[in-house]
Symmetry: C2
Subunit: 458 residues, 2 copies
């Protein structure tokens, strides 16, 4: 059989670095959210581009699915082996290859995590800004076009990846982009691969843009009487042109989950958490102007601080938001939604969503990167109650439809995976077919992460 033959050849190539144990397959067959487990037939742990190329060639010859794997934190079942096959786990390709401080860029292998990279950069005065809540791998982040709390200021992976090395479905290796800050030299292949979720090729190397650690940082938090005034404060801050580095929303339920999880004493009310970067004067000034705006909207006094420990505590709490919310309903799993709308539609989108969730009876705390118009409802379902899943999926579908109606997108940052394919036709129309045609051009055998993102082929 093809898969058995592929496994034999992969064992020759990788020796003990081909995982076949039950534990290994199980660990690479589950997802962070609500999808059923789908273990692969084997897990490959390559250590070089040449090995990845070997894997791709073997799988192409045997027509066996190939699925990339970074930290496995994606939320739409991205990495599940829907049709079996070989998961390629990049955890052994985790070297920071070249920090070029003068050019503010860096070359990394895909298995490096965002936290490990920033650890390595510490001495340089530079940092890499994109920060999903999880400690994801840079390869995985590139493949989902991830963003995070600092995207409002520094952009998403789309803005911070300058180039990629990619092993294509047929084993060819290409280098996209360059180390120049811009280029008009033909199709933007880097951008095409960003967000492609491993359906077009495997990333074996990334060139990333770095930023200078700001001279000064101020950060703080405040509570609002209601969601509408919090969102109005965000909109006004953006329109006044106050340059926020971060601006995050958490509703009352999220605040309570934080309290329970992290021992904080937040009011049971909607909150904004913000950060400003600049010179000591400008960062303080920005915080003061922000304090005035939120006061006008009835917020609790805006407590801000320039002290590093306090800021760290604040953002670590925020980054653990998903886990805090999960813990608020013991034994629950989550359907995580992720819509993004134009800022003028944000209040309406959150309001309608809150009402819809309240009517459903399913707990669904809301939090998000509101500076981008992006927010999540974490719909907590009891895995023993199939009607919970049905209800949560219906809520999620209505959120996606709402986002599209308001000029937005059904996924601001998490991506399509298996979970969001149902909305791609409504979002892209015939553009979704175009995605399928591009997929077919680069992966005619359909072996790269099949069952994800593009229209199903029969």
């Amino acid at each position: 059989m093809a898969t058995e033959q592929a496994i034999r050849l992969l064992q020759e190539l990788l020796g003990p670095r081909l995982g076949l144990s039950k534990a290994d397959l199980a660990a690479h067959g589950k997802s962070e959210s609500y999808f059923p487990d789908m273990p692969p037939d084997a897990v490959a742990y390559p250590e070089s581009t040449a090995e990845v190329q070997g894997i791709a060639r073997i799988c192409a010859a045997e027509r066996v699915p190939v699925i990339g794997w970074g930290a496995g934190t994606s939320l739409e079942g991205h990495g599940l082996a829907v049709q079996g096959g070989v998961v390629v786990d990049f955890s052994r390709m985790n070297r920071v290859l070249d920090i070029r401080a003068a050019d503010m860029d860096v070359e990394v292998e895909p298995g490096v995590t965002r936290e490990a990279l920033n650890e390595d950069l510490r001495a340089t005065g530079l940092f890499f800004p994109v920060d999903p809540g999880a400690n994801a791998s840079l390869g995985g982040m590139a493949m989902t076009r991830a963003s995070g709390t600092t995207t409002v200021r520094y952009g998403s992976m789309r803005d911070n990846v300058m180039g990629l090395e990619v092993v294509l479905a047929d084993g060819r290796v290409i280098q996209t982009g360059s180390r120049a800050r811009k280029s008009a030299a033909g199709y933007d292949l880097t951008a095409l691969f960003l967000g492609s979720e491993g359906t077009l090729g495997l990333v074996t190397r990334l060139t990333l843009r770095l930023h200078g650690i700001p001279e000064a940082t101020t950060a703080g938090i405040c509570a609002f009487p209601d969601m509408n005034s919090a969102v109005a404060a965000v909109t006004e801050t953006i329109q006044m042109g106050i340059p926020m580095a971060r601006i995050e929303f958490a509703d009352a339920a999220t605040a309570q989950a934080f309290n329970a999880y992290a021992g904080t004493d937040m009011a049971a009310a909607p909150h904004l958490m913000v950060e400003f970067h600049g010179s000591p004067e400008s960062a303080a000034q920005d915080a003061e102007r922000f304090a005035e705006i939120v006061a006008d909207h009835g917020a609790s006094p805006f407590r801000w601080s320039a002290r590093e420990e306090e800021r760290r505590a604040l953002w670590s709490m925020r980054h653990n938001g998903y886990y805090a919310i999960l813990a608020s309903r013991p034994g629950a799993r989550a359907v995580v939604t992720d819509i993004c709308v134009p800022i003028s539609q944000l209040a309406r989108a959150v309001e309608e969503t809150q009402a819809d969730i309240a009517a459903s009876g399913i707990p669904g705390p809301i939090l998000g990167h509101v500076g981008d118009g992006n927010f999540h409802a974490i719909l907590l379902i009891d895995p023993e109650r199939p009607e919970d899943l049905t209800e949560a999926k219906a809520l999620s579908a209505r959120m996606s439809e709402r986002a599209l109606r308001l000029g937005g997108t059904s996924t601001g940052e998490h991506g399509v995976g298996m979970g969001k394919t149902a909305f791609m036709r409504a979002e892209h129309g015939e553009g979704w077919d175009v995605m399928g045609e591009l997929k077919k051009a680069l992966d005619p055998l359909g072996i790269m992460n099949p069952g994800k993102l593009v229209p199903p082929t029969q």
Copy 2:
């Protein structure tokens, strides 16, 4: 014959808005730079997406080339009808459709020029930043992934186009992107079309990101003893994190051309022109800090001003740089080069290029968007002397090779067209074949602007 049949059908569709006169064909058969004229068989002037769709369908049925045309200012022969066919001139699709100030975005037709758009935006306090020297169309700018003097701060077309309406080669109409600030909903089709030079489809509508006009602007100019100290000042300014809105380099020959063309009295020396945006305090502070840096590098005192007329005069001079340089050798035509390198390699790239030009005997003033590592040599050739063209092309080729050797790109902003295809293999390796495969997937008949950007098919 197919072309005749297509013309008959297009006349039915467009009536008098199908241009067939010699003058019309000639006007759409030439380029800004050194390429020989190549008039099309007809020029279509559509007024709606539906008409563009009709044009595409007719041309697909008859297998006749279709070539988009904005303002015709591109520099690599992008719009020339290499294989004849129909030029689609978008000058009648020039409406600003919807300014959404609260969301800081705007919907436009492709024929709107960058100056017309900013005229329309004046009352809103918003502006569109991308500013190639020419008053190009936004459709053309999207298709070349253009940038300009403000890209160092506000990004290029890659960063400022949120979505596109595109008529594909087979007449399907798709909408890419959305009005959300970010999305992870599948392949980034917007980015794929940006910079595709009309080889994948015709753009009939664009959603653009706008920016707030800064509260305060300061701008100024200074002369340096030599090119190396000017470039060192740029590098230092970037590394100090001083947020420049513009930073432009002009060498001694360019300064002299400005003097002759615009009646200025610049020293015959390398110059930097810069601008800072911010609050009155921060913009003044940035200018002061910059003044200190350039003084350290031996520059003439940095004269800066916050007065609008003075700034306007400065940037209008800069935007006319190409015409000033052309005028410095009466009767000349230009081979315009456009390399972009990592900032650490900029001094070396400019120095080697200057030496190479000096040795050639061809005049070649240098100017550029040095904050991005991007610069141009305008190689002035006598159209009567074929040996000039040979020499200029050899110089240009060596510049491209140099850029690639230094980790950069053979074209920072002008694009590939016909002029840069010779360097695509060296720049992209098998990535260039991938571009060809994508082209084939979306335009299997090869009718969209044939002979440009992708590898030739036989």
